[in-house]
Subunit: 345 residues, 2 copies
């Protein structure tokens, strides 16, 4: 699957901020990492060539432009879009992975279309029913992986076990944890808690605890405590939880800002204390976590937020490069093979 | 169900902070509200009588002590506990509602046991399959109700519609909103998003939009925007989301505190700006929202956090009193009756 030099096909057209931001992100990533790699910028050549010139990437041998004439818009229905727009930049980028022209795809485009096209064209690995989106979340003492944050809203219990294996491999690569501790997100930690799905998955995890370091159930309260490196859930719950937590943090930030602006004394105090918030930003480097790989496919697909800025694009590219350099997908398929053998016995 | 004077049976034994905190909470509530009511403090008389004396409630005619010899502990298995501990304070308090000695029960005890005992002894209203926990959540511009936050982890689509009706009635009573706008929490707002449960519930809501003001799907990002007065979800998702949001807010608070303590300048600045955080606390008066009614039963059961302090107990009591004074349960059963008629047609 992986060649010596990582090659990434970047869908440059799907971003909410337009192709320029994507090209700027590619440049930022290449500036930070001077090693050998290949970035294939996929999209309308007429639009992309001037941008590649503008960002001084014309002479960088690591960058190539590949033409694709169509774009899948955010508002389009996934299945319909991938059926009708055969020449869409997103599809072309994924096809490159399929035919071996690239090792990974990065896209900020329509999530549903990316998942559908990724699954359809690259197929899930042998033994995996559905892929899962893994996201790095900043915690109090250390970061952790939440998986699935939106790929499969109605998985079977077996898929949650797969998510544990996929997430553990991603934690090794993205967080550098040797033996990631996996937990199952639940509405309580006592036996008998959970919905039917988590109860069954909990049982499966306990039966397969030789294959991964399973730490049991965890509650939302404890998600940031650092006790778990991988938090497993279904794609519906993960998506709603991730977005709600973001909503809560934005609420708090907005309320603090509003209250500070109410009078001059508060503004003065906050100005004096501004180092606090600068350090806080450094401790929560969200732009580095903007890419979420769609794990469990024969080939790497990384999804970045639709509204990712150049820093976030660069962060997502670095995630993709890291996954390729550490040969994550080979490790995942080896782990999945072990599970299949255990189940077959 | 409701008499002219609200009578509340308070389970004084189930709190993590012990019965004294509950008695202190009763006193705080009575001090704030001087009108006619009756609070029956249920639990071990030998423990409670000295506390009632200590908090000068002996001569308050509104307070009575009722003896119950057993306590259901937090760690006990719900069904087993309610089967074996017939004289538990929680069960006695619920029985009082059943036989008409009280109009509502308040307990900080074992949630599972409270739900099981409430459902078993009071029974769901005609037309309701399972009760739901409704919680008030502070938002940016206004507060909203989230329902269900933990009673039914695996509801059917019909139950989510019921949650909408229960939540709308609770929003009228607790938030004073005349025509509450109801939304369904989902992993996206486009048609086709959601798991099977939310997709089916969304369809049901649209079919029954004459009965309630249904505003459609909403995402976690938008939960605090103030567009919805009632956010409907299943009890598993609601519980996990609520606790994760709390976890995120605590994380942010802890990180800010840590960063402030790093140097003197920051501490000085924050001291000057301290009014910000005082105002913030006033805008997010969490102690007032500590009680979550178990809605949809023939009788009112209010759950307070296990670790509620006296202010939170008083807040939960006020919620119970408000529900009784506004005859919420009668309104709910009228609404449920309308739905049943529509479904029968």
């Amino acid at each position: 699957m992986s060649s010596a030099i990582p090659r990434i096909a970047v869908d440059a057209m799907g971003s909410d901020l337009g192709p320029e931001e994507v090209v700027a992100g590619v440049r930022a990533a290449l500036k930070e990492d001077r090693s050998a790699m290949e970035i294939i910028v996929v999209g309308n050549e007429e639009v992309l060539t001037p941008l590649v010139v503008k960002y001084s990437l014309m002479r960088d041998r690591r960058v190539k432009v590949y033409h694709a004439g169509e774009v899948i818009e955010m508002s389009e229905k996934p299945i319909q879009a991938i059926k009708t727009k055969k020449d869409a930049s997103m599809l072309r980028a994924i096809e490159m992975v399929k035919i071996g022209m690239a090792d990974a795809t990065l896209s900020c485009g329509n999530t549903g279309a990316l998942m559908a096209a990724g699954t359809l064209k690259l197929r899930p690995m042998n033994g995996i029913e559905r892929p899962a989106l893994g996201s790095i979340i900043p915690g109090k003492k250390k970061n952790f992986i939440m998986i699935d944050v939106g790929a499969s809203p109605d998985p079977k219990p077996d898929s949650l076990l797969d998510n544990g294996i996929l997430g553990a491999n991603y934690a090794r690569v993205a967080l550098g944890v040797k033996n990631p501790r996996v937990g199952l997100l639940c509405n309580g930690t006592e036996d008998g808690k959970g919905n039917v799905l988590t109860q069954r998955a909990h049982k499966l995890f306990k039966e397969n605890d030789l294959l991964l370091n399973y730490g049991g159930l965890l509650e939302g309260f404890n998600i940031f405590d650092g006790d778990f490196d991988v938090v497993v859930c279904d794609g519906f719950t993960g998506n709603v939880v991730l977005k709600s937590m973001e909503g809560a943090v934005v609420l708090l930030k907005d309320l603090i800002k509003e209250e500070v602006k109410r009078n001059f004394i508060r503004m003065l105090g906050m100005w004096i204390a501004k180092g606090t918030f600068k350090s806080l930003k450094k401790r929560l480097p969200v732009e580095k976590f903007a890419g979420a790989p769609l794990l469990g496919l024969n080939g790497l697909v990384v999804k970045a937020h639709g509204g990712s800025n150049r820093k976030q694009i660069a962060g997502a590219l670095q995630i993709a490069i890291r996954c390729l350099r550490m040969d994550m997908n080979r490790r995942i398929s080896e782990d999945i093979e072990k599970v299949r053998q255990v189940k077959a016995e």
